[in-house]
């Protein structure tokens, strides 16, 4: 069992000491930052990539070096769950990567700490970085207080995955198009499936879903003076709607099954998830090929989905900002993004890349492209991680004990107001 004291203190102490050393280097590096992008000088960029896709990144870094022989790129692959801790250390030591892949939920806190460089000065030199090239939602996710701190790299959005054969058997020839139809289909599927089968999966640990449904119901998350508005009647109505799936038994509270096998066996014939699931289902459940499809989310007032993905940021303490911007610009080219899609199946954030035949003709990608048009990110707020966490806790009370939704959302709203102060 770890010693808690050391947990907190040793970490802070070590980074504190590193900070002492880092500051000196920074002053020395002041001059170098201007010469960094000079074509005669050789520079080495450190790039931090996260998760699976970071393993493919070195191949693209080599291509980039082929075009720019003076810039060597050193890619470090970090697992997502360690990325945040690593970045904290980098912030404390003021020494870290030149370019870093940011999950959209991290942008606010790190931008608030002032460690992400403003990209707008580079837009004239590298037109690839122009915000107009990207999905507007993705640009919004990369902005903090109107400062353009990270450039969209790839995007994803949530759509409805459903078993065409099973929906047909309960009378739905196409995917449910409205909230009412979705609820109706889910209940019919549950009834038709019998014990141990459900209508759809709504992951109760996914914090963005509740906010997404609320927005579809026309709720504004914030009041005009930027106060949380999570107990708005429309928000409450949306949460009650989500809760109804758990209460009438059409969505499981704790199933403990992975989604792909459950989808294959028809235990969960519908679920809401992102494009990465396409390949997973194709690989892990080839038996149901042709028996499932994607659809845009059912609508209430609208059917806006959540926009996620990854952005690329330049670290404020980088000495080679110019070279770093060049690299980010390279990764933002439509052709690089398409190649990137081929090797990692993550979707391009550059809108012009979507003219590509593969994206245009594939029915699954068509659905996602359609959904992307209106998808909006979660708010870029420093305290959002905590607010989302708080939502999950209050929602857990609601779906587990069928608590009064209005009362619970009142209490959540009060918590959120406190967190936003």
């Amino acid at each position: 069992m770890k010693k808690t004291m050391t947990l907190i203190t040793a970490g802070v102490l070590t980074v504190g000491m590193l900070a002492g050393c880092g500051a000196k280097n920074d002053t020395n590096g002041g001059n170098a930052s201007e010469g960094g992008g000079d074509s005669n000088e050789k520079v080495t960029l450190t790039v931090w990539g996260m998760g699976e896709e970071a393993k493919t990144l070195p191949k693209f870094a080599d291509e980039f070096t082929k075009e720019n022989p003076n810039i060597k790129v050193n890619v470090q692959a970090l697992p997502w769950d360690q990325g945040h801790d690593k970045l904290l250390t980098a912030v404390a030591s003021k020494k870290g990567p030149d370019v870093v892949q940011m999950g959209s939920s991290w942008v606010a806190e790190f931008a608030d700490a002032g460690v992400l460089a403003d990209l707008s000065p580079y837009v004239t030199q590298y037109p690839e970085l122009n915000p107009d090239n990207f999905y507007p939602g993705a640009v919004a996710a990369g902005k903090y207080n109107d400062k353009y701190v990270s450039s969209p790299w790839y995007v994803e959005t949530r759509v409805l995955f459903y078993r065409t054969d099973m929906l047909k058997s309960v009378g739905f020839d196409k995917a449910p198009a409205t909230w009412d139809e979705l609820s109706d289909a889910a209940q019919k599927l549950t009834k038709a499936g019998g014990s141990g089968k459900y209508g759809m999966s709504i992951d109760p640990k996914e914090q963005s879903l509740g906010f997404m449904f609320a927005r579809q119901n026309g709720a504004n998350w914030f009041t005009a003076d930027n106060q949380p508005n999570f107990n708005d009647p429309k928000f409450v109505e949306a949460v009650s709607y989500v809760n109804s799936f758990y209460q009438n038994g059409s969505a499981p509270k704790d199933l403990g099954l992975d989604i792909v096998p459950a989808f294959k066996e028809g235990i969960l014939p519908m679920f809401i998830s992102g494009p990465w699931m396409i390949k997973l289902i194709q690989d892990q459940a080839p038996e149901i090929n042709g028996k499932w499809a994607l659809a845009v989310l059912p609508k209430k007032e609208n059917n806006m989905s959540v926009l996620g993905g990854s952005n690329l940021s330049i670290f404020e303490y980088s000495k080679n900002k110019d070279a770093a911007a060049k690299f980010v610009a390279y990764m933002s080219k439509a052709e690089t993004q398409l190649k990137w899609m081929d090797s990692t199946s993550s979707l391009p954030a550059v809108t012009s890349a979507w003219d590509n035949d593969k994206l245009k003709n594939d029915p699954n990608y068509q659905v996602i492209g359609e959904q992307l048009k209106t998808a909006q990110p979660m708010p870029v707020l420093k305290s959002w991680a905590q607010i989302g966490d708080s939502y999950l806790k209050h929602f857990e009370v609601i779906y587990r004990s069928n608590a009064d939704v209005k009362k619970e959302m009142d209490s959540f709203n009060a918590d959120a107001a406190k967190l936003m102060k």
Partner: protein
């Protein structure tokens, strides 16, 4: 010169330990104390100028935080149920293994010790399958004998007990080794004398073995108690504090506030409360032990 060396020698020998202790324990504790009086967050980490001194606000806030209170109650639940079980089970296993003379008991020593050296993440993967509501072995066995499913990790109180079960399984081995070492330190002549007087096996165990093990039991209870007050890995890897904060321990609360939400000052204040708590409980235990040894 020789006298000087003689006088200095002990300090030279303890210097490495002292330096390490100061660098990695004492200084961090002081730093944490300072941080706990500030509003340090991620911005403060990047730029020390933005750190503000806020006195005891963090302490007031953390002590009135219902989630923190819940985590304290959970931790006490773990300690009150877990620690006696660990001592009981490891002592029982040690006694039984020590009584056995056959070779197989040596093998069982390894069997009981293995969980202690197994990586917690690997353990967590296996145990979360055992507890899995749909595929879990435990529910399968319950169903096989006609009992209903148990919500191992999804009902707050049951989840606490499930984590205690896991931690117990993991903790028995190490403490068993300590007890076995202590058992083998008891001179054989005591038992021979007792046998000559016609003492039964039970009498030998209760009149000789247990009293002779008093110091080992004391040692194990203090280390186990401190360990369980810092209960962290099991809820961290298995439940992440859920459901409904039902398995949230104080250490996990500190971790989440410090490294997930970047409220370093708040987390440091929480860790200090825990620190004081542990010191107080250890002092009480030491005092009790002293009273007891005075009596005998």
């Amino acid at each position: 010169m020789k006298g000087f060396l003689n006088r200095q020698a002990p300090y030279v020998f303890i210097a490495p330990t002292l330096i390490l202790l100061t660098l990695f324990s004492l200084v961090p504790i002081v730093v944490a104390l300072v941080i706990s009086l500030t509003d340090m967050d991620l911005g403060g980490l990047a730029n020390f100028d933005s750190i503000g001194f806020i006195g005891f606000d963090n302490y007031v806030e953390v002590l009135t935080d219902p989630v923190f209170m819940k985590s304290i109650l959970n931790t006490l639940f773990y300690v009150v149920i877990g620690v006696p079980l660990v001592i009981l089970f490891s002592l029982a296993v040690a006694l039984l293994i020590n009584l056995g003379t056959s070779r197989i008991f040596k093998a069982f020593r390894v069997v009981y010790y293995l969980p202690s050296v197994t990586n917690i993440v690997a353990v967590a993967v296996v145990w979360s399958y055992l507890y899995n509501p749909s595929l879990g072995l435990f529910n399968y066995l319950l169903n096989a004998i006609g009992l209903p499913d148990v919500q191992w990790l999804t009902q707050p109180t049951t989840a606490k007990l499930s984590l205690i079960l896991l931690a117990l399984w993991k903790a028995v081995g190490l403490n068993m080794i300590i007890f076995i070492a202590a058992l083998q330190g008891i001179p054989k002549s005591y038992y021979e004398a007792a046998q000559l007087d016609g003492a039964s096996l039970w009498q030998q165990v209760t009149k000789i073995t247990i009293p002779m093990l008093r110091f080992a039991i004391f040692f194990v209870s203090i280390t186990t108690m401190i360990g369980w007050l810092q209960f962290f890995e099991e809820p961290f890897v298995m439940t992440n504090g859920g459901p409904l904060d039902g398995t949230l321990s104080v250490s996990l609360f500190i971790y989440q506030n410090g490294f997930k939400f970047n409220n370093f000052g708040y987390a440091a204040a929480g860790s200090f409360v825990l620190f004081v708590f542990i010191i107080a409980i250890t002092l009480i235990q030491l005092r009790l032990q002293k009273n007891e040894s005075d009596m005998t």
